[in-house]
């Protein structure tokens, strides 16, 4: 096997056992890796009746075939499980440096079940692994735990760590790689916490990746790396990070403001944009393994109430989640809030969104002093968010902390009073910081049909509507108008298929944009030794999309769940998208038709499943 190693670690923390597991080779060709392969392994090995936070739940880390390739954007990886936040399928993608190291150590991923008797860590080295009890790390923040692990094992060890939020089973707890990169979404940190697994540490002495065709691979990688280095958009990101175009986003109405109640705030656009971050606080850029873009930020704030030492700085999502979404244009406050949130181990998107929801609830008088421990947070009051709210949520302290630790959707259900009308989500996952009313109507569709819930990285639709994609080989040559539904269902078919591939190949959606479709195919062939044509690749993407849909079907999701909460479908009151309606149902109906999804059950016909080599899965769902 090339690219992949063919080996997964299987860890059962209850019985302290570690074994080697070899997925059938055809799983790799049919489900690619990352999110797709994790879905297949989950389908085969997961207990669908198990609560997300029970010992029986299965947590999977999976690499794509390119992890370890010295190609910009190629070394992300996936984590997957039943989400404690949404109750259904979740996968999350993380950059950083862990993925190539795991590949070099001889593994394509790790399957973890059970629960350790005492807080433990998993130590992975060349072709071997062991579980060590480490109760002294429990209750430490991500930064301290990471530092302690690096001191104990050595700086070159890579780490995956949960914070107090994961230990306390906060529903949107995340997993942090080396204290900077995150498996942010859908609460996978809580799944790890429920297993009393504080960390995974990893080191390999090998640094080689076996590929199918060395010479052709080198040529292709050189060509693609050069293109990344010359790319106009990626150079802008190199200079000013992922928030480089926040200003532009504000003028389009894409950046959410005060819990998605407004789509325009001019002064904020200049205050929070990436170039302002560079001018004021940037020390240097930082990169995921082998990526020349280096869109990550290392920042330092020397003085004032939000002073922070040199360390990881916020990317776009965090800037908007703790900035505009909470009614703040204080960039220093945003940097500090992001730092604190990461240290506590929480997803900045869901956390910011849940806080935005409670501010609105409090403003409307929907949450009483008895439910909020007397704490009243106002728009723009990031000091209180940092000092009071973030620690209370992570510790589930007091009534308010415990309430918000469940996420905005469960919290709204708890307090009632129609407060669900201003939760902003799909399928229970809080929406990221791109408002489809301004960012593009296609995004509304892809948020709704994304398997983990409202998600901007489940597909490249955001980039497609911006005009950053052109794939004539697979029929995507539309010149899309963002604020219209025209050609959006057709585009969403391409987007969801490509998204499934990107998340399974574990490629970065920024660096990816420089790769053409024929080059994608070539990459699979020269690295993993496949014999693919474009059709094979696209069929694999579609197969993965369908399989994840079947998993959600087994969790009780149906077509009606492919929906957005009301606020996202209410015409904007200001900014560029003011008054414009999203023709959501029409887009969804057409998308369902094009994907052969049943308008009630939400799953494809048996024939379509068979056409995508999902016969066994079809039999499980639809009967023989």
């Amino acid at each position: 096997m090339t690219g992949n190693t063919g080996h997964f670690l299987r860890v059962d923390l209850t019985v302290d056992s570690i074994s080697l597991f070899e997925p059938p080779p055809n799983y790799y060709t049919r489900f690619v890796g990352g999110s797709g392969l994790a879905a297949k392994l989950f389908w085969e090995n997961g207990d669908f009746k198990a609560d997300a936070l029970s010992p029986e739940s299965l947590l999977i880390f999976a690499l794509g075939p390119f992890a370890g390739l010295r190609l910009s954007g190629a070394s992300r990886f996936s984590a997957a499980a039943r989400s404690p936040l949404t109750g259904h399928w979740a996968d999350s993608s993380c950059g950083g440096n862990f993925a190539p190291e795991l590949r070099f150590a001889g593994f394509d991923g790790i399957l973890i079940s059970g629960v350790a008797r005492v807080p433990s860590i998993l130590v992975v080295t060349d072709h071997s692994a062991r579980i060590e009890s480490s109760p002294e790390l429990w209750e430490l923040g991500v930064e301290a735990a990471t530092a302690s692990l690096k001191q104990r094992f050595g700086r070159s060890y890579k780490t995956l760590v949960i914070g107090p939020a994961g230990e306390n089973l906060v529903k949107f707890a995340c997993i942090m790689n080396d204290g900077h990169d995150a498996f942010g979404r859908a609460g996978l940190g809580a799944v790890m916490g429920s297993k009393r697994l504080k960390a995974i540490v990893l080191k390999s002495s090998n640094k080689d990746l076996l590929v199918a065709d060395q010479a052709k691979c080198r040529e292709l990688v050189t060509e693609l790396n050069n293109r990344v280095k010359e790319s106009v958009t990626l150079n802008v990101m190199k200079e000013n990070g992922t928030a480089a175009n926040l200003e532009g986003g504000v003028h389009l109405g894409d950046v959410p403001i005060r819990n998605f109640t407004s789509n325009f705030w001019e002064d904020m656009s200049d205050a929070l944009t990436g170039s302002t971050l560079s001018e004021k606080y940037l020390i240097r850029g930082a990169n995921c393994a082998f990526c020349s873009v280096a869109c990550k930020r290392i920042v330092q704030i020397d003085e004032g109430p939000f002073a922070i030492p040199k360390g990881p700085g916020p990317e776009y999502e965090t800037i908007a989640a703790f900035g505009s979404l909470l009614g703040s244009m204080d960039l220093a406050a945003v940097c500090k809030a992001g730092r604190v949130c990461n240290d506590l181990g929480m997803d900045t998107i869901s956390c910011g969104a849940t806080i935005a929801w409670v501010i609105e609830a409090s403003e409307k008088g929907h949450i009483g002093a008895d439910q909020s421990d007397g704490l009243k947070v106002k728009w723009g009051d990031i000091q209180t968010v940092i000092d009071e709210l973030l620690p209370s949520i992570a510790q589930k302290r007091g009534k308010l902390g415990a309430l918000l630790a469940e996420g905005s959707v469960a919290a709204a259900r708890r307090i009632g009073r129609n407060s669900n009308e201003y939760t902003v989500h799909s399928k229970g996952l809080e929406a990221p910081m791109h408002d489809p009313r301004g960012g593009g109507h296609g995004l509304a569709l892809t948020y709704s049909v994304s398997h983990r819930g409202a998600c901007h990285v489940s597909s490249p639709m955001l980039f497609m509507e911006m005009g950053a994609c052109y794939y004539p080989e697979i029929g995507f040559d539309y010149e899309l108008e963002p604020l219209s539904s025209e050609n959006k269902p057709e585009s969403a078919v391409v987007a969801m298929t490509l998204g499934a591939l990107e998340n399974s190949a574990c490629m970065c959606q920024f660096a990816d944009r420089e790769i053409t479709i024929p080059e994608w195919v070539q990459l699979f062939n020269v690295v993993a030794g496949l014999d693919w044509e474009i059709d094979h690749m696209m069929k694999a993407g579609r197969r993965i999309f369908y399989l994840q849909r079947l998993i959600n079907y087994r969790y009780g999701l149906r077509a009606k769940d492919d929906h957005l909460s009301p606020r996202l479908l209410t015409p904007a009151v200001d900014g560029a998208p003011e008054g414009i309606e999203i023709d959501f149902e029409k887009m969804k109906t057409k998308f369902y038709k094009l994907m052969d999804l049943d308008q009630i059950s939400g799953i494809p016909s048996k024939k379509t499943l068979q056409d995508h080599n999902l016969e066994l899965e079809a039999d499980t769902i639809l009967g023989e």
């Binding site: 802008v236 200079e239 480089a244 911006m466 005009g467």
Partner: protein, 139 residues
Amino acid sequence: MEFWKDETEPIKAFIELFERAKHDTELAEGLKKVNQLIWFDYTEDGPSCSFHVDCRGGDVKVAPGKPSDQPDLTMSLSADDAHRSWSNKLNPVMAITRKKIRIKGSATGLLKLAPKLKKVAVIYSGTLKDLGWESKILS
């Protein structure tokens, strides 16, 4: 060329556009923030078909041709696509993706101008009208 009789026409229109933009407070501020020497290169439509804008040092100067200093940013495209672009009828991201616009240098400054394209289009339309080229205005 679809919109221009010869290579002098577009440069005359574009230089006049920038002269007017300089006197609009919002656009002048935006241009100053760009703080770059930009060469708009349309030489695919004729050897003299280009102009440059010098936004460095808090002043904005516009002149025909290639600048004598090394430009911080060069934008190469056809004079027709430039006309579409100043008329706000060309999505710049799409044009870059489809290689209609080729860029050398840092485009960070340009991003600051992108939100102002609507306003630029209004001034451009007025410019064309005053030059007697109303028929060139794109609806």
